[in-house]
């Protein structure tokens, strides 16, 4: 993704589509009006670190570098019900508060092992489970549908030009 566009879409939020001509609903990123984002810059940073903990940088880029947190915020802001949005915002707060309480520092300042362990406590927590599953699912979706992954790792073909209906399964 172009960095300029990535930064621009960070700033987009609920109701961003309202400024378009009627026939252009929902597609032209560059003409979308910028409105108040769902998350504060600090929360956005926290979300980036959570996504990175779920899909970290290895020998290939992780979620943060691929801007998956931007995608997550956009999806929650535009495609989710208010109730889910509340779960999302509250979950971020809870996670940060838990980090401060148990580690005495913010989630972003914690090391990889601490982050993993914090997220794992969410996974089993009755109240935070919904938040964890939402963020994890969106992280996976954003990662697998990112330009980097689709073009470099999973072999997406926009226009294959053929269909073969019966080929041997490749042994992996």
């Amino acid at each position: 993704m172009k960095r300029r566009n990535a930064l621009k879409s960070v700033a987009l939020g609920v109701g961003a589509l309202a400024g378009l001509p009627a026939w252009a609903n929902g597609w032209n990123r560059d003409t979308v009006r910028q409105t108040t984002p769902l998350l504060s810059p600090r929360q956005d940073q926290l979300l980036a670190e959570i996504a990175e903990a779920i899909i970290p940088t290895t020998d290939t880029p992780g979620a943060k570098e691929l801007g998956v947190h931007t995608f997550i915020q956009k999806m929650v802001a535009d495609c989710y019900e208010p109730k889910a949005q509340a779960t999302f915002s509250k979950g971020l707060e809870t996670l940060e508060a838990t980090a401060q309480r148990t580690l005495g520092k913010s989630f972003a300042a914690a090391d990889a092992a601490q982050r993993t362990s914090l997220l794992k406590t969410l996974e089993t927590d009755a109240e935070a489970k919904g938040f964890f599953q939402m963020v994890k699912n969106l992280t996976i979706r954003g990662y697998l549908t990112s330009e980097y992954v689709m073009t470099n790792l999973t072999g997406f073909q926009m226009a294959p030009g053929y269909y073969k209906g019966c080929v041997p399964v490749k042994k992996s």
Partner: protein
């Protein structure tokens, strides 16, 4: 005639630029007629006005999911399978063009040059003799005034130009056409087809769908500037290659090249002008969608191709002393006998064989099961029958346990799943006087035109047919060895099939029909209706190909009659 009126005068006017209007425009212009094409929506030029046509999945900020706001504001159009982030600009939003649902009806519309031909499903099966004989044999509606032999050469004519892929299957119930090479089968689909052939001894053929895709271009397609289908499977966003047929890629630019066509977008037709002295239609009243100004245009012949229900609306709204109930409506049947296709039911299953094989690439088409019920004779307790779509494929999934580097690694190792198979029904519904559209006496649209009141519903015959489809397809899947067979009846409202037809039906007798065998209004000979409104019955085939053929045939007739000074 004064100069001012002369400027507004054409040889022919075509109302609508969708799949049938585009054909009318092409045929009229090629025959040398100065033709005005009126389109109520904006212009959509081939290639340049397909804003999402070249976008990759990651370029959609919601990855093609509809934002909640759009869904909430558009409960009707959001039900349409082809309406997603990448196509929202090609569909009418609920609030923009209101209508009255006397009974639930999901009216799916595309108001732009090209109409719904941009987003259609591109299935192009011919009707057979058994379809045209249907109403007469089974005693419903009225007899079609034409038979297969009347339309067969016109099917060939439009198929060659449009580019239809298919296999010559030699089936009397689904005649072969002028085909480009057919799409490819996959192993499980082939298996199903073979098992059905064996078990039902040829009684239930499963064939490759005939589809309006250029699988191998011929010179006529290259002349249109169209290229071979690239197998992208994102057709409904508009195809910059012209790989599938649309008015925008094919008939409209072809008509434009003749120099005879004037294309006028943003032109909402209010009504057709009837001249009492001359005893003929003389033109149309048009409201400019941008300025709301009313203008009149004049022509010797008028083709009404506004899409089935809007064609009804325009004729109903075209009142005069001679026709107080709508143009050509002497018998009071205008707007009545509307029918559609029953798309409610699905059956799906899994197959645990052929696990050493899979598919590669993409195919914008799938196999097709022509109607096998009541085709050659009546054999069930319901009338008519259903065709069905069929398809098989293999999906993959990933393990998504935990978080961190292990999760990441497993996400990049997709696990190939087993084969899944699926089918959906396309049932014929019986046109009835009680299924109708009418002008609402009170409600007006934003242009001051009466809103359409839609009163269309399923009946007992449809319910029986759904049950039969579910039972038969379950049996067929069982015979083929498919497992975990499941089914559903969505109970979706009429309309979502996007195959609404009738209201201005063809027939032999002016007392019981509106149009004659040339799609010409019995009572107003210089007005022709060749879109879905003309359909006497619906049969089960996707109807667009039949509209194209009827249109080319009607234009040929109309121009001959004009030259003889008969209209």
């Amino acid at each position: 005639m004064g100069d001012a009126k002369k400027q507004m005068t054409y040889d022919a006017i075509v109302i609508g630029s969708g799949i049938s209007g585009g054909w009318a425009a092409k045929e009229l212009c090629e025959k040398g007629l100065k033709t005005l094409v009126l389109e109520r929506g904006r212009d959509v030029r081939h290639v340049t006005d397909y804003p999402t046509g070249m976008m990759n999945p990651w370029e959609f900020e919601h990855r093609n999911q509809l934002p909640l706001e759009i869904k909430q504001q558009n409960p009707i159009i959001s039900k349409c399978y082809a309406f997603y982030e990448g196509t929202t600009h090609f569909f009418v939003k609920d609030a923009e063009h209101p209508y009255v649902q006397e009974k639930p009806f999901d009216w799916i519309r595309g108001y732009q040059v090209g109409g719904k031909s941009l987003m259609w499903a591109r299935q192009t099966q011919r009707w057979s003799e058994y379809d045209f004989q249907g109403p007469a044999r089974d005693g419903f509606a009225v007899d079609w005034p034409i038979r297969y032999a009347d339309i067969a050469p016109w099917y060939s004519y439009v198929e060659k130009f449009a580019g239809i892929s298919g296999n010559k299957d030699g089936l009397p119930q689904l005649p072969d056409g002028e085909f480009l090479p057919p799409h490819e089968w996959n192993c499980v689909e082939k298996h199903f087809s073979q098992q059905m052939a064996k078990h039902y001894k040829g009684g239930r053929p499963v064939i490759m769908g005939r589809a309006a895709h250029i699988t191998q271009p011929k010179p006529i397609h290259l002349q249109q500037g169209r290229a071979q289908c690239q197998r992208r499977e994102i057709c409904e966003r508009g195809c910059p290659y012209g790989g599938y047929f649309s008015s925008n890629s094919s008939t409209i630019p072809w008509a434009m090249k003749t120099g005879k066509m004037t294309l006028r977008p943003h032109s909402v037709v209010h009504s057709i002008i009837y001249d009492e002295q001359k005893g003929r239609a003389t033109g149309v009243r048009v409201i400019d969608a941008e300025t709301k100004q009313m203008t009149e245009f004049y022509a010797r012949i008028i083709f009404v191709n506004a899409a089935a229900l809007n064609t009804n609306l325009i004729l109903l709204n075209s009142t005069s002393n001679r026709f107080p109930n709508g143009l050509g409506n002497d018998n009071g049947l205008l707007g009545k006998y509307v029918a559609f296709h029953n798309y409610r039911a699905r059956v799906w299953a899994e197959y645990d064989g052929m696990l050493d094989s899979t598919t590669e690439g993409k195919r914008p088409n799938s196999p097709y099961i022509p109607r096998f019920r009541n085709v050659f004779k009546q054999e069930t307790d319901f009338l008519r029958g259903y065709a069905a779509g069929f398809g098989a494929g293999r999906g993959s999934h990933t393990k998504q346990d935990g978080i961190g580097a292990d999760l990441k690694a497993s996400l990049l190792k997709p696990i190939l799943g087993g084969w899944y198979v699926g089918s959906h029904m396309m049932g014929e519904t019986i046109p009835k006087e009680t299924n109708f559209v009418a002008l609402d006496p009170n409600q007006k649209d934003p242009f001051g035109i009466p809103q359409l009141r839609v009163s269309v519903d399923y009946d007992d015959n449809d319910e029986k047919m759904v049950k039969d489809y579910l039972a038969q397809m379950t049996e067929m899947f069982t015979v083929a060895g498919f497992k975990n067979i499941q089914s559903s009846d969505s109970k979706q409202a009429p309309g979502l099939d996007i195959h609404e037809m009738g209201g201005v039906r063809m027939g032999k007798d002016p007392k019981t029909s509106l149009l004659n065998k040339w799609n010409q209004l019995h009572a107003c000979k210089n007005v022709f209706v060749t879109d879905g409104a003309c359909m006497t019955s619906t049969s089960t085939q996707n109807p667009s190909l039949t509209y194209m053929a009827l249109t080319a045939r009607a234009v040929d007739y109309a121009v001959k009659e004009m030259k003889k000074n008969l209209i």
